[in-house]
């Protein structure tokens, strides 16, 4: 006989497998797109080279094609499109975006380098002269020179900025320059390349490709926030200071329940006060949404989070999201272990709210002291109500992710680590420690869910 738990686990596994298919499908599509781009060049006779200069030029073109595919995947990953968030998770998408971005920029410079080398050989010119000459009589190639300049600027400022403690907003502005650079770089492929003169297939392929990437970006990063703002007219309903000093903000908006925000998800918030207007912050919901009300809890730590304490009720709020797959939907096993440190408790507290009473559930909170544990009373009450086991670890750091006096390991928390999902939210180094311990304890890799705060 199949018990209800078994049926629930089977459904979870089916869902996880579907999501994996989706995630793999997106990766596969990127590879296929790159292959089609290269194949179209080959089909147009690209490989028929007659001398060394031709070889360099053709190599430059192929690198350019792969760069275009990679750059557009970058735009897609950062587009906050729901179909990406749902299968990869916004945080992971942004993490991948950051990693791939470096390769994309390196490839882009290789493309420019190879093409300029070929041109300088062809015309017996110096590299600088050959680069500047690219634009002779061609407006779109002039745009490319500007794009290359912008990319160089981004590269230099990023290397320079790595040594400085810059605001997130400063990074964000630099990041935006990349989008401008991409906008300058794209047209030359259509207007300079012969690819589009011969045969409609190449044109159709690249047009579709760009339309999907830019379309998602415009739709989900530009239009959707405006629609959300107009629809919900969200405002701060109340602001309260918690016992540990963090701030809980309740936001109410017309039809907010229709957002379908799930416990564990986060949104990007913008408060319309003079200090906070220019910033957008990712804050997790600190409780499951109730009706048209959602709630966040913010610890005063950064430039913006301190100012949140001074927000007045009635302040207008706009947001993007909800984002993330740090939710019950991501579960694959029957039991659940919720582990949080510090303000990382917010999504954990929300997740706990939707734990079915009686379901095997262990909650671990880690804090320096009891006074510094946010939402502790709420978690206690919820844990009692859901008959979840609660462990509060307070004290200085030790060798494990527990405290010096009380070492912690997932292996000692549950009877069968292979039958639980572990949700972790807290400072990066600590969360990675928990993740490593969970893996070593026998938790399946796909059952470990770590929230990496992304933008």
């Amino acid at each position: 006989m199949i018990t209800r738990t078994q049926a629930r686990v089977a459904e979870r596994r089916r869902r996880a497998s579907r999501r994996q298919w989706g995630a793999d499908g997106i990766v596969a599509c990127v590879w296929f797109a790159a292959a089609v781009g290269v194949a179209l060049n080959v089909a147009a006779g690209g490989l028929l080279v007659s001398n060394g200069t031709d070889v360099v030029r053709e190599a430059g073109r192929l690198v350019g094609i792969v760069t275009a595919v990679l750059m557009m995947s970058q735009v897609l990953l950062a587009s906050r499109a729901p179909w990406i968030d749902r299968v990869i998770g916004h945080d992971r998408a942004i993490a991948r975006h950051a990693t791939l971005g470096k390769y994309a920029i390196l490839l882009m410079f290789s493309h420019v380098g190879l093409i300029v080398t070929a041109t300088s050989r062809e015309l017996s010119q110096g590299m600088v002269q050959a680069f500047l000459g690219l634009s002779s009589g061609n407006l779109w190639m002039a745009a490319v020179e500007i794009a290359a300049g912008l990319f160089a600027l981004v590269l230099v400022t990023s290397l320079f900025g790595a040594f400085r403690d810059w605001h997130y907003e400063t990074w964000h502005t630099i990041n935006r320059v990349v989008y401008v650079a991409i906008a300058f770089a794209v047209p030359h492929q259509f207007l300079d390349g012969e690819t589009f003169r011969r045969g409609g297939l190449a044109w159709l392929f690249w047009f579709t490709f760009y339309a999907v990437a830019f379309g998602s970006f415009v739709a989900f990063r530009m239009v959707r926030p405006l629609v959300l703002t107009a629809n919900h007219r969200a405002r701060v309903a109340s602001v309260a200071t918690e016992a540990d000093g963090s701030t809980t903000v309740v936001i109410r908006g017309r039809g907010l329940r229709g957002l379908g925000a799930k416990p564990g998800q986060f949104l990007l918030w913008r408060f319309y006060t003079t200090r906070l207007f220019w910033q957008k912050h990712p804050y997790s919901l600190s409780s499951a949404p109730h009706g048209d009300q959602v709630r966040i809890t913010v610890k005063p730590s950064g430039h913006g989070s301190r100012a949140v304490a001074h927000v007045r009720p009635g302040t207008a709020v706009t947001f993007e999201g909800p984002l993330g797959i740090f939710t019950h939907d991501a579960r694959t096993r029957s039991g659940i272990v919720l582990i949080a440190a510090g303000i990382g408790v917010t999504p954990i507290r929300a997740l706990l709210e939707h734990v079915v009473p009686g379901e095997p559930c262990v909650v671990v909170l880690r804090a320096r002291s009891l006074d510094e544990a946010p939402l502790l009373d709420e978690v206690r009450a919820l844990a009692r109500d859901r008959s979840a086991e609660l462990k509060v670890l307070v004290g200085p750091r030790g060798d494990t992710w527990g405290t010096a006096d009380e070492p912690a390991s997932v292996a000692s928390l549950v009877r069968d680590p292979s039958d639980v999902d572990v949700f972790v939210c807290g400072p990066l180094a600590w969360a990675k420690q928990v993740e490593a311990d969970a893996l070593a304890s026998g938790v399946a890799p796909e059952a470990i869910h770590r929230e990496r705060f992304g933008w």
């Binding site: 296929f32 194949a39 080279v49 007659s50 062809e122 015309l123 009589g137």
Partner: protein, 133 residues
């Protein structure tokens, strides 16, 4: 990604690339770039060599009785596939346009964004040299 799926994706990519290779042309069109003598009573005038990222472009014109009778490309860009495909269509088109209109100031061939200005610029010099404006 599971190993099985990696193999499928790799295989798919290989198939796509293979298809591209199969339908690719096996050789390139030839672009003739030769000068020649002018017939009796005719004179040739070389335009300047114009450089742009797609190579060097130069034409000479043959003038007979105040009329341009031939436009010959002496150099027509790089030898790579893209240039040659473009030039095999663009050069005859530009030659015809110049001859028909009897002026270097003709409309560019669309898609030949380097060949057109190269040829037209050089033709302009040749026309000037021939005293045809």
């Amino acid at each position: 990604m599971r190993a099985q799926r990696v193999v499928i994706v790799a295989g798919g990519c290989a198939a796509i690339l293979g298809t591209g290779w199969l339908v690719a042309p096996r050789d390139l069109p030839t672009v003739t770039t030769t000068g020649g003598g002018a017939g009796a009573g005719a004179a040739t005038f070389d335009g300047p060599a114009i450089q742009n990222p797609r190579g060097v472009f130069q034409v000479e014109i043959v003038v007979k009785g105040g009329k341009v009778t031939e436009v010959r490309p002496l150099q027509a860009g790089t030898g790579d596939a893209e240039s040659r495909f473009i030039n095999s269509e663009a050069l005859p088109a530009l030659q015809k346009r110049i001859l028909d209109a009897q002026t270097w100031d003709v409309q560019y061939v669309s898609g030949a964004s380097f060949t057109s200005p190269g040829i037209v610029e050089s033709a302009k010099g040749a026309f000037k040299k021939a005293g045809l404006g």
